[in-house]
């Protein structure tokens, strides 16, 4: 039972992530769910750090916490009639949902834990930003460019969808 600091850190952040995710799924108030999601994203970023993915962890914090979560909170504020509106929690097939999710979780954990994955020996910890940049410019240059075009199209499309009403009236 000799746990080192790595294991302890992993268990702390895994618990943070899962408890926050439970908060997201079960919170009655939509604002509480959004703030639980914040902690879940931070926990996942910490797990990325433990997996020696420093660049992805920073990207996770910048994009998810700084971008997507702010978008979600704006969506909550713009679409809730009152601040403290109930999140219209469930009553939408709770019992079948529990069975389906239990089946999915059981199958996933069973398959993931009984499979013998081809595992390499522990790799050294080294910075990943430079090799990821090199990969993006060589092997993955086509998906990289496609992603940039996709982002542009998606953002312009989002603006157009959200503003169509006003443009038509004006």
């Amino acid at each position: 039972m000799n746990m080192n600091w790595y294991d302890l850190t992993f268990y702390v952040f895994a618990a943070l992530t899962i408890i926050s995710a439970i908060g997201v799924v079960f919170a009655r108030n939509i604002i509480y769910a959004a703030f639980s999601l914040l902690f879940a994203f931070f926990g996942v970023a910490a797990i990325y750090v433990l997996l020696a993915a420093d660049f992805i962890a920073i990207t996770q914090i910048l994009l998810y916490v700084g971008g997507i979560l702010v978008l979600i909170i704006f969506g909550v504020m713009l679409t809730s009639r009152a601040y403290d509106v109930e999140a219209k929690h469930g009553l939408l097939q709770i019992v079948p949902a529990v069975f389906v999710v239990g089946a999915i979780a059981g199958t996933l954990i069973g398959v993931l834990t009984t499979t013998k994955w081809p595992v390499t020996n522990s790799l050294p910890y080294e910075e990943t930003a430079k090799p990821i940049g090199a990969l993006l410019m060589t092997q993955f240059v086509l998906p990289f460019e496609l992603a940039s075009v996709l982002l542009l199209v998606a953002l312009i499309g989002a603006v157009m969808i959200a503003r169509r009403d006003r443009v038509r009236k004006g």
């Binding site: 992530t17 439970i22 704006f74 929690h89 990943t128 953002l155 969808i161």
Partner: protein, 109 residues
């Protein structure tokens, strides 16, 4: 590095189990929530769990850095998807004054 499931020493399996739990919680959120924004939060949880898998196999498996690059693309797609979905939700709210996915059934009739 221990390769057994029951060991307290953290290995690949621990990350996979965390990812599976996150995935299941996300599915539960997507199924049970009525509010479209809550459904989006469930989808974000699912995408994060997939990313944990990619990066876990990048560290422990034979994927090297490819897994991390794929995770990067997943994050980019998640950003685009969230922006488009929220635009659609805002438009639905302007038109129908609701964001509950079970009340938006105009195409049914």
């Amino acid at each position: 590095m221990s390769e057994t499931v029951m060991s307290l020493h953290v290995g690949l399996y621990h990350f996979l189990i965390v990812s599976a739990i996150l995935f299941s919680l996300g599915i539960y959120g997507v199924i049970t929530r009525k509010n479209a924004i809550m459904v989006l939060m469930g989808i974000e949880l699912i995408l994060n769990s997939a990313n944990i898998n990619f990066i876990a196999f990048a560290r422990f498996g034979l994927m090297n850095l490819t897994g991390q690059v794929v995770a990067l693309f997943v994050i980019i797609l998640a950003a685009a998807e969230a922006a488009v979905l929220l635009a659609i939700v805002l438009n639905i709210f302007q038109q129908l004054n609701t964001v509950n996915v079970d009340e938006v059934d105009k195409l049914k009739n």
